[in-house]
């Protein structure tokens, strides 16, 4: 029981630290239950990043994990709490309260959250050690970060540990290590709880972010999309850092969307977005790629739609939030040897980069994985009859919801929509028929869906500067993954099989968020227009 209590205290301190920082930078009292929900989810992510950074700084300075950290952590949380107490606006009696959740949408969201998380919890209880990388990479790093003895943690960078990728950033291992430090023993409850809490936070974050941006009905539907994704549930169970990474991607974009669409200056939200982006980089190396893509996306935002000076100021706030976390990352990287991706490059780099065979292999594998996720999640989540139905069903949902009635008059839109619907139906009907060759109807279907979006969706929403910057970020992250696959020094087929599904997961919540942003109003009484 003491161990359960210690784990609870450890996570409570993490959440409180995040809550104080988020509430401080938020600037005003949350006006609705949905805002509070968003703050609670963001607090978990931000708190996890801050506590992990503090833990890493502690062992980098003192040389080893020791009980002293618990006192230092408690003081840091207390200090932040006092700061929040002194500066948080409390006189909110006159601010109007907003009600965003109706009981039907709330019940729907609750059902899908509970069921999705129930499946994740059950899978976690049956596979407490997690999947391969969980114990071979993330938890083994945590054991080193938790090592007694001066400088013993640096043994993780020894050459014989090469296979456990010592250069992988320390956010998740540091969080696990500080949990174990609280408990005094390396019990599986800590990594299992962390995996579960990040899954909870992801569910609630997507619901609250889309409810804020659009409506509660759409928030509930987003929960349903996540709850029916075998990829999401499988990776959540694996205890990998991919789930926290996907969470930070979404959190960053959700903060930026709130800040971009705010009527008042929102420097605190931009700071939080920067912090969150930095934490993505502190979670996995793919997070650094996200930083580059986000920078390019923000450049798009800067150059489109005028108001250059205000946007430039907002960019500096994002960079200010990013800077402290980047310093921690740089400190960590100063100990580690370069990533295998950099160190393993030879003279054939340019040949690999422009190799047609490699490109075709990547595209074929990506297509196969989108249609039927078989490489990873199927080992844990029994797909049964659902297979690729999640993607198809989501397309069936989003296409009619996205069509703008005013644009439906055009013959091209009608034709594209009809073709897309017929293609989707055909895909469902022929799903179990193995043709053995390239399915032409799939290309027609994908083309028709793109056309339906391009011609049928509301341009005002699609071409909005803020939304375009998110679309650019999403596309650039995936383009970056493509380049990484092209350049990988490892066996490409093996690497694709091991990782492509997880790379898709990184941007699934982001894609759902962006997709809902581009849909026209659902119910005019509750929906918001683009900024």
């Amino acid at each position: 029981m003491n161990r359960l209590g210690a784990v609870f205290v450890s996570f409570a301190l993490t959440w409180l630290m995040g809550y104080f920082v988020v509430a401080l930078l938020w600037g005003k009292h949350p006006r609705s239950l949905n805002d509070k929900l968003f703050q609670a989810c963001a607090a978990w992510g931000i708190g996890a990043g801050i506590i992990a950074s503090l833990y890493f700084l502690w062992i980098a300075v003192t040389g080893s994990a020791a009980e002293g950290f618990v006192v230092y952590e408690a003081f840091a949380v207390l200090a932040m709490g006092l700061l929040w107490w002194r500066s948080c606006p409390r006189n909110q009696a006159n601010s109007p309260r907003k009600k965003e959740w109706g009981w039907v949408s709330a019940l729907l969201a609750l059902y899908f959250c509970v069921v999705g998380l129930g499946v994740v919890a059950s899978l976690l209880l049956q596979n407490q050690g997690g999947a391969w990388d969980a114990w071979a990479i993330w938890n083994v790093h945590a054991k080193f970060l938790n090592a007694p003895g001066n400088g013993a943690w640096k043994a993780v960078f020894a050459p014989i540990m090469d296979l456990s990728h010592p250069d992988y950033p320390p956010l998740l291992p540091a969080l696990v290590a500080q949990g174990w430090l609280h408990v005094g023993k390396s019990i599986p409850l800590v990594p299992v709880s962390l995996a579960f809490l990040f899954a909870v936070a992801s569910f609630l974050l997507i619901a609250s972010a889309i409810t804020h941006a659009r409506s509660a009905t759409m928030g509930a539907l987003a929960c349903a999309i996540l709850a029916t994704s075998s990829v999401f549930l499988g990776v959540a169970m694996s205890q990998y850092a991919d789930m926290p990474l996907a969470f930070y991607f979404l959190l960053t974009v959700a903060f930026l969307h709130r800040a971009d669409s705010s009527d008042t200056p929102a420097k605190g939200l931009y700071l939080l977005a920067g912090l969150s982006a930095g934490m993505a980089a502190l979670t996995k190396n793919e997070g650094s790629l996200f930083l580059v893509a986000l920078g390019a996306g923000r450049l798009v935002h800067l150059l489109l739609g005028g108001d250059f000076r205000r946007k430039l100021r907002s960019l500096t706030w994002v960079l200010a939030g990013l800077a402290p976390v980047l310093l921690v990352l740089l400190l960590f990287k100063s100990y580690a040897s370069p990533s295998y991706l950099v160190a393993g490059q030879g003279k054939d780099m340019w040949h690999k980069l422009f190799s047609r065979e490699r490109a075709l292999l990547i595209v074929a594998k990506a297509r196969e994985e989108l249609e039927t996720p078989v490489t990873f999640s199927s080992s844990y989540v029994s797909l049964g009859v659902v297979r690729n139905w999640n993607l198809l069903a989501t397309m069936f949902l989003l296409l009619p919801m996205g069509i703008d009635p005013a644009r439906l008059r055009r013959t091209g839109t009608k034709a594209a929509l009809l073709l897309a619907v017929l293609g989707l139906l055909g895909d469902v009907l022929f799903m179990r028929v193995k043709t053995g060759g390239y399915d032409v109807h799939r290309s027609v279907l994908i083309g028709a869906c793109f056309l339906a979006v391009a011609w049928g969706f509301d341009r005002r929403r699609l071409l909005n500067a803020s939304t375009l910057s998110f679309i650019a970020t999403f596309l650039l992250v995936n383009a970056g993954y493509f380049v990484v696959y092209m350049l990988t020094p490892l066996d490409l087929q093996w690497q694709l099989t091991c990782s492509i599904e997880r790379l898709f997961l990184h941007t699934i919540p982001l894609a759902i968020f962006i997709a809902f942003l581009t849909l026209p109003p659902w119910a005019p009484s509750t929906d918001r227009d683009p900024a």
């Binding site: 161990r3 359960l4 784990v7 039907v104 729907l108 899908f112 069921v115 129930g118 499946v119 059950s122 899978l123 209880l125 049956q126 407490q128 391969w132 114990w135 071979a136 938890n139 083994v140 080193f144 938790n146 090592a147 007694p148 013993a152 943690w153 043994a155 993780v156 014989i160 023993k185 019990i187 409850l189 299992v192 009905t217 349903a224 709850a227 029916t228 989540v381 029994s382 049964g384 009859v385 659902v386 139905w389 999640n390 069903a393 069936f396 949902l397 296409l399 009619p400 919801m401 009635p405 005013a406 439906l408 008059r409 009608k414 109003p521 659902w522 119910a523 005019p524 009484s525 509750t526």
Partner: protein, 214 residues
Amino acid sequence: MAASANLFPFPKDNGTGRRDRLSKSRPDGGGESTCPESHLGHTAMSNPTNDQTIAMSPWARTVRWLLGWRRRLSALDYLRALAVLGFLLFAFNTTAGWCKTHVFQPFRDGRMKGRDLYQVSAIEKDLSLVRRSLPATGTVGYLSEKWEGRRYELRYLLAPLLLDFDWTKHELVLVDYPMGNRKSPQFLPNYRLITDFRGASSFARDMKLFRRKP
């Protein structure tokens, strides 16, 4: 007028069907409003609070009530409602199936062991037994014929102590296979047995620790 009405077989707004009745039955006598949403094809009401007094089919009333809409429904609205309904059916079916396979069945079969999460397992007991004879940190040699995955798993279990598979370089060697095997360093003249971890009940049952002779 609603453009979508041309594509789908629902009565047009200015026809003689239900929508006409809707317009005539408006208490303020008005037709469609001039609200900003009207240009999108929605036949929005100028005063949504008066909705309840309008005669409409039970289906339309149910859809409006379920989705919280406060405007009349166009053909595209019906299509959207159908898409949402279809998606929800799929989602309920999928999640119910997963609940059955991954929650109820494992619970019934006793495959979910919550206590293992925080209690000292047989592996942990073996670990403490092994750790008593090994240094907390540093590197020891490791000799085993086990599958590579098992060897890495042990490396994880004993971390932060490093296990070097190139065991000949080290003074302490952990041997992880039955004594009868000829490769065992007990047959090498320069190693002597330190302990064979009697009392181990899990992964350390076949393990032995050797030290190089001075």
